[in-house]
Subunit: 335 residues, 2 copies
């Protein structure tokens, strides 16, 4: 199991658990030779479901966990009390080195809290940001932080810029990625207290390619590779991306059904529209890593289907191969 990437998958988390999670896990294992998965959760639920698939039996193992953390549960409490939940059991496997990575579509709060409490932050890292890739006109950008820890300090944002740079270089292969901070104007003197305090620190920070402020308008145009922001702002950006996309697409579809002429047209453009929309489909990139931890924790969308789960698992390969954690530790860690 030397070159294997061992991924603990939360079989119980997300709107489509366990079916789509199990399907995605099987697909990941079938598509890649060097992936080994632990399906963590209720054995009596997972096993019957798993039997429907054909896959290399030696590369999927079911690990029993009797409890499940619900999305609505207060995360700190849930992590503390539900010791035998799929999230806690799987995170412990990462902590103990039994697994290289943890992938979950379950409660964001519990994954974020659990990641920090159980796996733990690399010494020297002040906060572990959640960093999803978002689609842009030019490809994709890393939005860092979209997590649950709001009201960040300037020093946190500087570390986000550094970790985001390491991620985009290592995992996405972008050399010298541009870094910008989200602001309400492009001029240096603009912004709220946090951004004003952070801007000069980013300017002076070695090892990042800081290009200044970015207005939200420029984010979908691909204005920078690494988009640094406080988690409240990041959450708004991420969710608005989803919301506008789905509303616009719905309106376009509805409009196309309005007349006979447009209905015929719709048939002709269907495949073209589909491939365009695919470009704006964040699911192709898999999940969002929680950076700065001692192991890899990947959060995928609560509504993830097999495809997202598969991509999230596959993504762990590159993360491990590029040894992102070691690079973060080397550049930002403290002994």
């Amino acid at each position: 199991m030397q070159d294997m990437v061992r991924v603990a998958v939360d079989a119980m988390g997300g709107d489509n658990a366990p079916d789509e999670i199990i399907k995605g896990t099987v697909e990941a294992v079938n598509s890649q030779q060097n992936i080994f998965c632990y399906l963590v959760g209720k054995k009596e639920v997972i096993e019957p479901c798993l039997q429907a698939y054909s896959y290399p039996k030696e590369r999927i193992e079911v690990v029993h966990a009797s409890e499940k953390i619900e999305t609505a549960e207060p995360p700190v409490n849930a992590i503390r009390k539900k010791k035998d939940s799929s999230i806690v059991v799987a995170l412990k496997m990462v902590k103990e080195g039994k697994a290289d990575a943890f992938v979950s579509a379950g409660s964001s709060g519990a994954v974020l809290v659990g990641g920090q409490v159980i796996v733990g932050k690399i010494k020297g890292i002040e906060r572990a940001p959640l960093a999803p890739l978002i689609p842009t006109e030019k490809g994709m950008s890393l939005l860092i932080d979209c997590g649950a820890n709001v009201d960040a300090r300037a020093s946190h944002l500087v570390q986000f810029a550094q970790m985001g740079t390491i991620y985009m270089e290592g995992v996405m292969g972008i050399s010298n990625p541009t870094v910008a901070i989200v602001n309400i104007g492009t001029e240096e003197e603009k912004g709220n207290a946090l951004v004003k305090e952070t801007f000069p620190l980013l300017k002076e920070c070695d090892g990042i390619n800081f290009v200044g402020n970015i207005e939200a308008r420029e984010i979908p145009h691909g204005g920078a590779d690494v988009i640094v922001c406080e988690a409240f702002t990041g959450n708004v950006i991420l969710k608005l991306y989803e919301g506008i996309g789905s509303v616009m697409l719905g309106a376009i579809k509805k409009g196309l059904m309005a007349t006979l002429k447009s209905k015929i047209g719709a048939l002709l453009i269907k495949s073209s529209l589909k491939s365009t929309m695919k470009q704006f489909d964040a699911s192709q990139y898999g999940g969002a890593p929680l950076l700065g931890l001692k192991g890899l924790v990947v959060k995928t969308h609560g509504s993830s289907k097999a495809k997202e789960v598969k991509n999230s698992i596959i993504q762990c390969q590159t993360f491990k191969a590029q040894d992102i954690n070691a690079k973060i530790k080397e550049q930002l860690g403290k002994e």
Copy 2:
């Protein structure tokens, strides 16, 4: 001139000044009997341009102002030093009661600062928010605040909710409009320090129909009529709306030109797509008012064309007819 609405228009402000501003002003006057406009700016520039149009001469008057505030100028300084700029001259006309309203596509910062400094806030109003209408699946919502005054306090946000309610009832005719605060989750205990402090105050506030937190994802779905947020967040939402819309539309158009089949389809769906996109075109609603001032100040987008300018001017009618300022003063003002 009893029932006339007198609007001072900044002829020099915006990317398309003075041509589109003058055109929009003429169109407003030609379309409505009770609108009188002052075109404020350089006489030698405005007059030749105005001669190209036919309109009732007694309802447009050119008011000379020799200076122009540029978008890049620091607003506080610009307002203080350029006493004979179109923005300062026009705002003084509102202050002195010569005009009922001021419409500008010029420097946001200068309009916001000038509105508060020259026209002045209603006594008791802590901050004057900029409140644009944004398109949604159901129609439109008021996004309050999108202005330049960031780092608001909880008491400011409560006033935004109250003023937003008065505006949506009076100007948009929505009875008992729903009010929500932008947050990273729907549960009451979520959020940053500001939102956590504001939530209970909104819950207890009389005269508003508070429905709780709104996640950014639900904004385009029309989740609430009045969307309350701090200006930094509001700015991000407003600009991201613009950015995603234009990028998606561009990608769809490009996709349609990809194959012969899709090109033919594109011809058939053209009018349907156009009317769908019109639904998401914020320009139909005119500009955004700066609420809580002693007079009406309306900021339209810097890239406004004649249509937006016209709609912004016409919008001033309803604002005056409904006496929004008197209602704000009555409910929130202090003697």
